[in-house]
Symmetry: C2
Subunit: 154 residues, 2 copies
């Protein structure tokens, strides 16, 4: 009896999820390639982990399964994050932006988000970040060790 | 004398900034349209404010002036954020992702970031966010008032 109620509930949930996903997909402005960029943020720390791309089917799966699924532009196939690496992304919340052409996903990331093994895809560049100098907000300087040979005044 | 030293310093800073910007631009993988997406995050609260697009010139100006400048795809022109609205974005830091095709900018946003007058471009969708149910992480439900006519089990 409990099982029958739960089955009924699961089916009703699935219907709601399918309808909700379809309503979202209807509102997305996909680009000429049928893709939309998705910004991925760790829900609690608010770190930006990566940017991925979704087509309608990957977005539908993401919203209804709760596992984040992208369209791999390089491999031209659906790519459910973590199926190979084990580093899964679980959806906590999703928002569409003001003109419907960007998604923001709040996720729970298990393990590194980046294929390089780093937590974030933005951790890898040794040159950036550039930082604005406090004294002169119109200029920037590289975040690196002082270089006495660069002609900079002491 | 102090003025002369400051002028020398400003010129040296400008040279460093130009070289740093050129080195960054060299590493960016712009798309077929010559653009790169830039995720924009408020540096202290870590809110994701918007996604914009940059070409090489808008990125150069952003990095060297410290005022965030985009390429407007709809108007096909450079667009320095806040020149019309007064809602400027000042660059605090920037990072390139692992494959060089996405930027993450940390900014200090003055006033609303969205043209709708809202703080973020992601606040505007009345349907989303969708939230994962705690009991059943594989399904989602819409973040809305309970609907007694939707066939859901009580």
């Amino acid at each position: 009896m409990t099982e029958a109620i739960n089955t009924h509930r699961d089916e009703a949930d699935a219907t709601i999820a399918d309808e909700a996903a379809a309503a979202v997909i209807e509102r997305v402005r996909f680009d000429a390639d049928g893709l939309v960029p998705a910004i991925v943020q760790q829900y609690d720390s608010r770190e930006v982990l990566m940017l991925g791309y979704m087509n309608a089917e990957s977005l539908r799966r993401t919203l209804t399964e709760g596992r984040v699924t992208y369209w791999s532009r390089s491999r031209a196939e659906l790519w459910r994050k973590g199926d190979t690496s084990g580093h899964t992304q679980h959806l906590r919340a999703a928002e569409l932006d003001c003109d419907g052409d960007t998604l923001l996903l709040q996720v729970e990331q298990h393990g590194p988000a980046c294929h390089t093994g780093l937590r974030r895809c933005f951790d890898v560049d040794p040159f950036l970040p550039l930082t604005v100098t406090a004294a002169s907000p119109g200029t920037i300087r590289a975040a690196r060790e002082p270089d006495t040979e660069n002609g900079e005044a002491p």
